[in-house]
Symmetry: C2
Subunit: 399 residues, 2 copies
């Protein structure tokens, strides 16, 4: 049916490629490109024998012209961007220049002042519309599936949604006292940044980790969850009409927060270089070298993730509550695609979004967030593609 | 009256030199020697104008012959060893070779397998006795004053001492979330080593930090104290005849233990080098470089130490309890001698021991621990020389 150019060769990309190859009737040919072509080749080699034809290429996605050249030579129908958030705009520009649809999983952030905000990408709306091209933003899990969950609730269960609480829980255990899946810098930013939520038309700020609950999550059990800002809040506040409050909650264990806090206290998370025996060394970089390699965590991580939306509102004039969530098992993901649940839950929805676009099921010129489309086909694909969801109609609510 | 050779130029040495200079009638001339003569000169320069004549010299105290040469050229009456514990035997050998008395504050440890044990130094008893020389071991605070406290209790208040609990509390606050006074390696050893205490003629081992109490210390308040092994237990178990149980307790704050534990968890206290950008770096050494310089803590440390002995036994057939302790203020010490209480409480008793030896008040050929002498003159000097002690006759007892 079509050709996809996938940019980026990290854990999420590995999942996207594996899942595309499970649908060779849609993804007939893919080109996997990144700065380090060896990483692309490594993923390709795991999929030898796939019906989907896989190419690899080297590209520096900071440079629109390199992406344009690659698109011109491979001639894809869609670009699936799972590279770095700093590169979103350069890749969107290349799509516009070449007339190709676009999809990503995380919104653009300026490299110098990292900040979650859709304004830069939403500014491309007219350009994509005029070009007859579609850009689907944030088609991962959160953002992504959480927006589809809200659209699904709106379509089937509510006349009016008043409150949305998104709860992202990771109960994975890698067996180390401390390790990070991602860049420790991003982890530290998560727990030290001020929280923010939407209420009655305004954005309200909280101190870092100020709002905490213990929530008893299905298939996971009670966990500490903390209010954070997360990028889908911005688009949902616009797209779920009349919503009064939207909040995002994430689990952090006491142990995790304690380790990050101590490392920060002693200066090991600093990005100011110190002179050590004549060599300039950034403490955070040295810490990364001492910590377990994030790449080693996949095979040893046990347990599950649970990400979902707790929604309150009214239907036919009566109050109603609804909880829709997905539970994902780290070890099952690893067995299936060689990545654990964090990458899996992001990569599968990226493939689904691209599949619906190539099939013409989600097809509208312009720049969109996932909750702006009919959620039913996406919800159906989640059940078929490894991220089945469950519903509850009287969940515990958060204050 | 006499001449003292002081070996070592760290914080304790700084205190010893200052306190010797307060008694120029006893310490007429001193020579301060260490591997780094500049450190000796720095201490000397602070005492310009002192009646005690101060010389400095370079010596590597690992090498007996260098110490012998220095002793022969300076011709002291006593060597005060406040160098590294690894160097005790080399310095004792030099004293025997040259006919000079010896004093130290911490027992010998073999450099390859650090272990608190008196056996190596007690093996010198006959040699010192035959040479008509005296060696006084462990004349700091603990070991040192704690032994004098026990001997004083034995002499004045008890026919029979049954139980001794030594409690060493440091309530100093340097204002950093985490920093160490000493080598972090030694701090880590303290909290990760198994505990040990003497009971009914046997040594009993505990898990690291297994025994914990909250003890309400005079002038400090309630603190977490943990049972540890400490070197004076070995000599007191021998010298306090018939004692049934001796334990040593030290304060560690939850914050301190937490920081050390996290740093250990993540591998930052490891002494195994890792290859970082082509350079072999020992994580613990890099951590030291990131942590506040221990030398910077002195001027900013506020609060007090409280070290003492809680003793139970009988007098005239009746049960009796006794608590004798010293409280020392970090900032007062710093004002007086430019070192905080940790160094002060060790350095003052070293000077007192040397003073009593030079005055002939403590004078017996052989190798001895402090509790083997008449405690009264030492207790008297403590009151006069900056470490006044207090007594309680119905202290709270430890289970």
């Amino acid at each position: 049916m079509g050709k996809a150019l996938i940019i980026g060769a990290g854990g999420v990309s590995n999942v996207v490629v594996h899942k595309c190859c499970q649908h060779p009737e849609v993804f007939e040919e893919i080109c996997l490109a990144s700065r380090t072509v060896e990483k692309c080749d490594a993923i390709k080699n795991k999929l030898a024998g796939s019906k989907t034809k896989i190419h690899t290429a080297r590209v520096n996605a900071d440079d629109s012209n390199q992406v344009i050249d690659l698109i011109r030579s491979f001639n894809p129908d869609i670009v699936i961007n799972v590279a770095l958030p700093y590169q979103d705009l350069a890749i969107m520009d290349a799509c516009l220049a070449t007339g190709v649809h676009y999809l990503d999983t995380a919104n653009y952030e300026p490299p110098d002042t990292p900040k979650f905000e859709y304004k830069w990408q939403w500014a491309y709306r007219e350009k994509f519309k005029e070009a007859g091209l579609m850009a689907l933003l944030g088609s991962g899990f959160d953002p992504g599936v959480t927006g589809v969950f809200c659209a699904y609730a709106q379509k089937h269960y509510f006349d009016q949604i008043d409150y949305i609480d998104i709860v992202d829980a990771n109960a994975g255990d890698h067996g180390y006292p401390f390790a990070t899946n991602f860049n420790p810098e991003i982890n530290i930013r998560e727990i030290t940044a001020k929280g923010r939520f939407y209420e009655n038309g305004e954005w309200k700020e909280t101190e870092p980790l100020e709002y905490k609950h213990v929530y008893d999550l299905p298939e996971i059990g009670p966990k500490n969850i903390y209010l954070l800002y997360h990028e889908e809040l911005e688009s949902l506040a616009v797209n779920i009409k009349g919503v009064k409050r939207i909040r995002f909650w994430m689990t952090f264990s006491d142990n995790y927060i304690n380790h990050l806090t101590v490392l920060q206290n002693v200066g090991m998370t600093s990005i100011e270089p110190i002179n050590y025996e004549g060599k300039e060394i950034i403490p955070l970089q040295f810490l990364k070298a001492v910590l377990p390699d994030p790449g080693s965590l996949g095979p040893r991580t046990k347990g599950k993730t649970n990400i979902g939306c707790i929604i309150q509102g009214t239907k036919d004039g009566k109050p109603r509550t609804y909880y829709v969530y997905n539970v994902c098992d780290h070890q099952e993901c690893y067995r299936e695609v060689g990545s654990q649940a964090i990458s899996y839950t992001t990569g599968v929805p990226a493939m689904i979004g691209a599949k619906l676009m190539l099939q013409g099921i989600w097809n509208k010129p312009g720049v969109f967030n996932v909750e702006e489309f009919d959620p039913d086909p996406f919800m159906d694909e989640l059940n078929k593609c490894g991220l089945p969801w469950k519903e509850e109609f009287s969940p515990t609510l958060l204050d």
